[in-house]
């Protein structure tokens, strides 16, 4: 049964995780993913101190404490990096661990306080959506929407400094102020996500959706929308799954679902995904094999052999026998060759035209390499072998013009038209 409390929790998770996805795009594009992790660890002391001062688990005290310490951590990283000549990743490592240690110490103090146990502050490590109160959800959702509005309003300067900060500064934008603003918004998102996802894994909700979304589009606004969707699906999905068991933390489930989407993306994304790349490689290979087989038959034809057996073809050009047989099958299906009863293979009329085209491109390119690019004659064959498969009709036309419609290639073989 779906209760209204559950719906409210899911709504809160959707808002928080979608905004994390959107803001995460800037962290990702500005290559500041490690800082997100540092900040999420560093807000822990703020959470503990927020509790100490307010005496209860008050979302606003928590937000302010987290915001304060998150921001201080960014300044600390910057200061350590600039003043001590330590590299930035060292500074990040120092800040992450020291603040996290401080936060853990303070939390253990809080746990021994009155009210401390019931507040379940331990859940801040891995997140527990069940501990969210109604007030928590309203406060966090409101904060998330403020962040979202800011991201939309400041799209121009934010995208400018993410792409090209010097240019933005030259245009007169106060880049330091906007960088600070992005940092504050990031800290805010991390803080509101803490209770649900936890200190340790919050940075995943910030970075993973953005990293996956980048694969699906080349437009920043679209990337933000896709990233928000990945965020929602993982946040809500992780929340639901964690509610099944009594003692189940939410953060790990969220990260598992994020990982699932990231894998899905790496496999299936258009153009850059694994399968898209494999499809391209395979179709290239198929094309190369087909054109090579046609070329063998043409060359045998030049030697007066209209038909050839598999063995004769393999003598002419070294090729894997299974690949050759498979290619012959496809070529036959496409009507470029026919197989006689004697198992001998010959080109059809269409096949002859196509074979001539391949041989022509090979020889034209060899001629271009020797004449225009001054390659040595004994060096050109290998290059021409690859390039012949790549030349388009337009390139062929340009090649012909530049070479002035030649008859012979550099090895004094006829160029077939």
């Amino acid at each position: 049964m779906i209760s209204s409390t559950l719906l409210l929790v899911l709504f809160g998770l959707a808002v928080i995780s979608s905004v994390a996805g959107v803001v995460g795009c800037y962290a990702f594009l500005r290559k500041r993913t490690l800082i997100g992790d540092a900040v999420s660890h560093a807000v822990l002391p703020g959470v503990a101190i927020g509790f100490m001062l307010s005496g209860t688990k008050d979302p606003i005290a928590l937000l302010l404490g987290g915001l304060f310490f998150g921001y201080i951590s960014i300044i600390s990283i910057d200061l350590i990096h600039r003043k001590s000549k330590l590299s930035e990743d060292t500074a990040i490592a120092i800040v992450t661990t020291v603040y996290f240690a401080l936060g853990s110490v303070l939390l253990s103090v809080v746990s021994s306080m009155e009210n401390g146990q019931q507040a379940g502050l331990k859940n801040f490590l891995f997140g527990k959506v069940a501990t969210l109160t109604e007030l928590d959800i309203w406060v966090f959702s409101f904060a998330a929407i403020v962040v979202l509005v800011a991201v939309v309003l400041f799209f121009k300067p934010f995208s400018l400094i993410s792409f090209n900060k010097d240019f933005a500064a030259a245009q007169g934008w106060k880049t330091n102020n906007y960088e600070t603003l992005i940092s504050v918004l990031t800290v805010l998102v991390i803080t509101i996500g803490l209770q649900a996802v936890g200190v340790v894994l919050m940075s995943a909700l910030l970075i993973a959706p953005a990293a996956a979304a980048r694969y699906w589009t080349n437009s920043l606004p679209k990337m933000m929308i896709i990233s928000a969707l990945f965020g929602i699906l993982s946040g809500v999905g992780g929340g639901l799954l964690s509610l099944v068991g009594e003692d189940m933390p939410t953060g790990p489930w969220v990260v598992m679902i994020l990982f699932f989407f990231t894998m899905l993306t790496l496999l299936f994304a258009p153009k850059k995904g694994y399968f898209a790349i494999r499809r391209r490689t395979q179709s290239n290979e198929r094309k190369i094999n087909e054109e090579n087989v046609l070329k063998i038959l043409h060359q045998l034809g030049e030697m007066g052999k209209e038909e050839a057996s598999i063995g004769e073809m393999l003598d002419k050009r070294r090729m894997d026998t299974t690949v050759l047989l498979k290619t012959i099958k496809t070529l036959k299906k496409e009507g470029f060759i026919e197989v006689k009863d004697s198992k001998k293979i010959r080109l059809t009329e269409n096949g002859k035209i196509e074979a001539m085209r391949v041989v022509r491109l090979h020889r034209l390119w060899e001629l271009y390499l020797t004449q225009q690019l001054k390659f040595k004659e004994d060096h050109i064959h290998g290059t021409a072998e690859t390039i012949e498969h790549l030349i388009t009709d337009e390139l062929e036309e340009a090649l012909l013009k530049e070479l002035d419609y030649p008859d012979m290639d550099p090895h004094a073989k006829k160029i077939p038209y």
Binding site: K156, P157, S159, F163, D166, F167, A170, T217, N218, L220
Partner: protein, 261 residues
């Protein structure tokens, strides 16, 4: 009126002076080359003019006014390698950035803005590629995207950092033609360039730089063998040693309380 005036300009990175007391004025409506070997402070000079690096001393004037008063009249073209071209943006997206202005933060781009963007793309001959992601362009095309973004700003003075690096000969010529067309419309173009090869012949005016100013003036007056020797003949040994010492000792480049007159 001068297009750019630079007075007593000194810039140091971590105490190492990269520009030392540079002082010159540049004319308007010309193609001006800033030329010198690697590490001679050319890029830093452009950044100093655009106030992107802190100045140890000196000041800059653009069209007789301060940079803040003249922002809209100057366009800066950074080096191509300074950005990540994998950024999710098309050619048009990037050129549109030229129309972003701090004063119009919350305003959408108008039809006029979009028209200027299209014209800028047209001028650099990238119209067929307008919707392509910028990472899928050749080096020369990426350089032209940056120039189009500056054109879209509609400025009078253009500062270009190494626009001829990593482009083929055909693109080099295309860019040069474009710069000449801009000059003929009365624009001032300042181009940082690392050597004195072919393109330099098309410049009208030269600034020879090697940490200190060697010479500046019309191209015919400046290109003397003495000047070239001073520019490219290697760092003066003593000078380089002194730079090193300043850095090692964290010594200030200007004494406290020293005021430029």
């Amino acid at each position: 009126m001068n297009s750019i005036e630079v007075h007593n300009l000194t810039v140091a990175y971590q105490q190492l002076p990269v520009l030392w007391d540079v002082d010159f004025e540049l004319p308007k409506g010309q193609i001006i080359g800033i030329v010198g070997p690697n590490g001679s402070g050319k890029s830093t000079l452009l950044k100093a003019i655009m106030e992107l690096v802190p100045l140890s001393s000196g000041y800059v004037k653009i069209l007789d006014k301060s940079l803040d008063q003249m922002r809209k009249h100057v366009a800066y073209v950074p080096q191509r390698e300074t950005v990540d071209w994998n950024f999710p943006a098309s050619v048009r997206d990037v050129v549109k950035m030229g129309r972003y202005q701090p004063g119009r933060l919350f305003k959408r781009l108008t039809d006029l803005d979009n028209q200027l963007v299209d014209e800028a793309i047209e001028k650099v001959k990238l119209t067929p590629f307008a919707n392509r992601q910028i990472g899928q362009l050749s080096g020369g095309q990426q350089q032209r995207v940056f120039i189009a973004r500056a054109l879209a700003q509609g400025a009078d003075v253009y500062l270009m950092d190494e626009p001829f690096v990593g482009v083929d000969v055909a693109t080099e010529k295309a860019i040069m033609d474009l710069l000449q067309a801009m000059r003929d419309e009365g624009k001032t173009i300042v181009v940082v360039h690392h050597d004195l090869q072919a393109v330099t012949a098309n410049f009208d005016y030269l600034v020879l730089l090697n940490t200190r100013l060697i010479a500046h003036g019309a191209i015919g007056d400046v290109l003397t063998s003495e000047n070239l020797q001073a520019t490219y003949g290697g760092q003066l040994n003593l000078f380089a040693q002194l730079q090193q010492i300043i850095q090692e000792k964290d010594f200030p480049i200007r004494e406290k309380g020293f005021e430029d007159k």
